[in-house]
């Protein structure tokens, strides 16, 4: 059944359908409607599970970690400063190998204070050991939260399901809400281990020596890589049951393309239109939407972009003094390929600044004309086309 839902409320529906036991959260724009909707559903008895009104994101994540260790299904959501505020606990969560799912609604990290979307908040958590999934719209976010639990509870690693603030979080679209019975079939309640076993008491996370530290980290690293395959399987199974699947990346018109645009998140929708227009003008443009950022989809990136002549990466984020984060990651991942494409980095759409299809078209035309790529990214707002 399709309902008109914002991206935030689509996520809240996914949390209800996933029969989450425990939610600890804290308000922050633009994530707050997720928190509010879950509180409402619990208080009206539409959702089982309980809500802990945390006094900070740091504590919300702390409680999610310990509740998860005690064997219940947990959820939280945050944005921007809130994600930054949890940073310590994000590392802790992945190291504790807890299957937490967190919705992240992108918003700039201050200063200056601002509210629009910008992926720097989640991308700066790149090395915290969380699986990161960037979604294009509310439907994908709803479906991905459910898939995320499946993957997370199989590999025991936490997952961020990420949408753009306002564009996706507040934009209302028809969203298909799956049947609970089918969800129960897809995502049965697992008997998660309670790691506080009174009959066999263990001391969790006590201090380890360097060899053991390395052993634990290597194990975590390898399991994180395995999450890619699990996600592909979870996505495929989801598709079979519900008729929707997304892949870890989504290629569009790349087979015969001479130039490819790379996007993540909501800007992908505008890039789709741009590719259609460019194609109608005889330009062989294609698109790769990156959904999975950690673990990094090396194989897919090489497969779809490795043979192109030119690749454009549009980053709605910035690592000051270096470049756009997706662009840098793509460059690094393709360095060892024999025929790697030229990669052209652009920064734009910061703080939710609009990136309409025409911008993608103009950027593509300018890159087609370009003689060689640059190291330092071009800023879209400064460009005269």
């Amino acid at each position: 059944m399709a309902e008109l839902l914002s991206g935030n409320h689509a996520i809240a529906e996914a949390v209800r359908l996933s029969k989450v036991d425990f939610v600890a959260a804290y308000p922050i724009t633009p994530q707050t409607p997720i928190y509010e909707k879950i509180a409402e559903m619990i208080s009206e008895g539409k959702m089982c599970g309980q809500m802990m009104r945390a006094e900070s994101e740091h504590s919300a994540m702390a409680a999610c970690i310990s509740a998860s260790l005690a064997g219940v299904r947990v959820f939280t959501a945050s944005s921007s400063q809130g994600i930054a505020y949890m940073h310590e606990m994000l590392h802790f969560a992945s190291g504790c190998r807890v299957p937490i799912v967190m919705a992240c609604v992108n918003r700039v990290v201050s200063a200056p204070w601002a509210f629009g979307t910008d992926q720097t908040d989640t991308l700066s958590q790149r090395d915290t050991g969380w699986i990161q999934l960037y979604c294009e719209d509310g439907q994908e976010a709803l479906d991905t939260v459910i898939m995320a639990y499946k993957v997370s509870e199989t590999i025991f690693l936490p997952v961020m399901v990420i949408i753009d603030g306002f564009y996706t979080s507040h934009f209302i679209e028809p969203v298909e809400i799956p049947e609970q019975t089918l969800i129960d079939q897809y995502l049965p309640k697992r008997n998660l281990p309670n790691r506080f076993d009174l009959s066999n008491p263990a001391f969790l996370q006590n201090v380890v020596d360097p060899p053991n530290y390395t052993r634990f980290k290597k194990r975590q690293f390898d399991d994180t890589l395995k999450a890619r395959r699990l996600l592909i399987e979870a996505d495929k199974e989801f598709g079979e049951l519900f008729g929707r699947s997304y892949g870890v990346v989504e290629p569009l018109e790349l087979a015969d393309a001479e130039i490819g645009i790379v996007t993540a998140g909501s800007m992908t929708s505008c890039a789709r239109i741009a590719v259609r227009t460019l194609r109608s003008k005889g330009i062989k443009a294609g698109l790769l939407k990156i959904k999975l950022f950690r673990p990094f989809p090396y194989n897919e990136v090489a497969r779809y972009l490795g043979t192109l002549e030119k690749v454009i990466v549009i980053d709605r984020n910035v690592s000051s003094g270096k470049g756009g984060i997706f662009c840098d990651e793509l460059k690094a991942s393709m360095y060892n390929l024999k025929n790697r494409p030229e990669i052209y980095g652009f920064i734009g759409g910061l703080c939710g600044e609009d990136l309409p299809p025409e911008k993608f078209e103009k950027i593509t035309l300018s890159v087609l004309r370009a003689k060689k790529p640059w190291d330092v990214p071009k800023w879209i707002h400064r460009m005269r086309f």
């Binding site: 425990f22 006094e55 509740a67 064997g71 802790f92 969790l204 996370q205 201090v207 380890v208 053991n212």
Partner: protein, 290 residues
Amino acid sequence: MDTQDEILRKGHYACPGCGLAIAMRLVLRAVGRKAIAVIVPSCEAVISGTYPFSALEVPAFHSAFAIAAPTAAGISRALKIRKETDVTVLAFAGDGGTYDIGLQSLSGAAERNEDFIYVCLDNEAYMNTGIQASSSTPPLSWTVTTPKGKVEKKKRLMEIIVAHSVPYAATATIGYPQDLMEKVKRAKEFQGTKFIHVLTPCPTGWKMKEELTGVIAMLAFETKVFPLYEVINGEIYRITKVPKGLPVRDYLSIQGRFSHLSEDEIEKIQQEVDIEWERLIYLAKRHEKV
């Protein structure tokens, strides 16, 4: 004491004469085996053992520094969801972890009345990182970061906790093990956030003789520096043991951290201790039936 009841094992890593280890041992004995302990960075984490060993005979989780309370809350809520309602969740944190970095998260949990016993192991400084001052460090005390003595007062933590109307809050010291254990047992009878503030002398940080730990703890009480009382529902204060009122000098003079004090300074501390004691009497009398 019967060794079968001991939950803190022998052979742990505490310094000789560590008051904190004694407090952990007593608290765990009083709580019993149906318990889960939250440990945070502090000497308590060192004492609890390194991988793959544990000095604790109950399940424990070494969480991050600022979050003893919400970590305990997460466990206690999860246990309730799992319908395991007969397990006590115990949060241990040092004075730094309670008075300073963990105060916000403790306040949040106490306001929500999360169900656990919180034990503040107060050795009056950041000992694990090498004796830096905290907001629990008493006035004029030497620490590495207050080489000429701390200027500020010791934060009145109990009043902050009491202001949350928690069902049970109490002070205790290892100088009076029976009193401490009784308070822990009483705490177990309440639903919600229980707070026990334990003074745990630290020979290393207080620059005192190892064998004096117990004596110092008793003197802290007898000089009224650390009164023993409990507060029910944030309202009813009850002084659980009446001190002799020995001069504070008896307590200060055997600790190196106070060896630089002048006569005037000792007198000043005496006056402040007397004022605090009067304040406690006032709070306790307020609720006496007329």
